[in-house]
Symmetry: C2
Subunit: 182 residues, 2 copies
DNA sequence: GGGAGGTGTTTAGGATAATCGACACTCCCG
DNA sequence: CGGGAGTGTCGATTATCCTAAACACCTCCC
């Protein structure tokens, strides 16, 4: 959970092929500051860290979201996707086992009569998707609509939401959410 | 671009229904600190901001990624998706006009012979997707594979990558990337 | 009126971070 | 064997942040 600011900064800097002095010059700070931060001998203030990142340039959000590990698995056969759903709703995850993902991509299938429930889901982050086949009724806060193939949605997950398939045909959606909730 | 740390913190705190003193107690800092930060009279050090957020709890990445505005549009008809592609590659974006999105969700279509080019793309973030129809050859770094319907991929965008459709049929992919590059 | 208990704000002083300038090291070249 | 130009690291001073304790304000209740 605890983030290694120094290692992150060093990784970012070297990724850009910059020396401490070069980055310091661009950022308008001294090379000593960069050195101390990278060694975790100090914890920079947000404003000074922002100044440093402006020299790259990179936003604070990008900096803290950055994943330093490399995981080799890139391709996933349809049978490799991790299925974590139940009978009514099937959720098949891409790269489920990858640690520290920035987001989750899923292939969802709602069978006829499937319903995520009346006590509506809400969690942090944002999510969106595109309907591939079938129809689904989506309720987000006070808004409500039936989506068909090619239609899409996007909302902040903090708003309560509900998926219902009241048709006779299964509904398929490809969706993504960030940060990962699965 | 510049982030209002004070307003962010205040929004987060009130979202959780906490007073400055309550949050301070949970976080192990003083209420004065919270007050000064919220007024932007000081720029907290990363370590103290982390301590404060631990009291919520919320990660630094979530904090800086947090979108304070609310955008009402949730649903998008297939014709509402913004098409930014060319003749060979069509990219249709969900919620393209939404400011400060955490990610981009796209419906991509590669026509026969489409190729994103030999000078391979690379940018920050992570991306992944699932093939809906057709076949596509994906190269990521030194790895290479042909993906068909239901197959998926996920990788760090910093690694150079390339999409090629050398078949006779159009290939459709639904993908997501974060942070948004479109 | 006068507490008690809650809110956010302010101030003085000690703790922490940023700067400046030196230091030690490596590599390359005359 | 020296420069010279690059690297990252390290003290001593200056600037900034964090804490503790007051302050001012509000609402409720006796």
């Amino acid at each position: 959970m605890t983030i290694d600011v120094g290692a992150h900064l060093k990784a970012v800097r070297t990724m850009y092929g910059l020396s401490q002095r070069e980055l310091a010059k661009r950022a308008g700070v001294t090379n000593g500051t960069i050195s101390l931060i990278e060694q975790n001998r100090v914890s920079p203030s947000v404003s000074s860290l922002k100044k440093v990142l402006d020299g790259v340039p990179m936003s604070l959000a990008e900096f803290f979201t950055l994943d330093l590990q490399v995981n080799p698995q890139v391709f996933f056969s349809r049978d490799d996707l991790a299925d974590i759903g139940d009978r009514e709703v099937s959720l098949r995850l891409v790269a489920a086992q990858r640690p520290n993902r920035a987001m989750t991509i899923m292939h969802e299938r709602y069978r006829p009569k499937a319903d995520t429930g009346a006590d509506m889901l809400s969690h942090k982050g944002e999510e969106g998707g595109i309907v591939v086949a079938g129809r689904v009724e989506l309720t987000v806060g006070a808004q409500n609509r039936v989506l068909g193939p090619g239609d899409a949605y996007y909302f902040t997950s903090a708003v309560p939401h509900r998926f219902r398939n009241f048709g006779d045909e299964s509904c398929e959606i490809i969706s993504a959410c960030t940060p990962p909730t699965f």
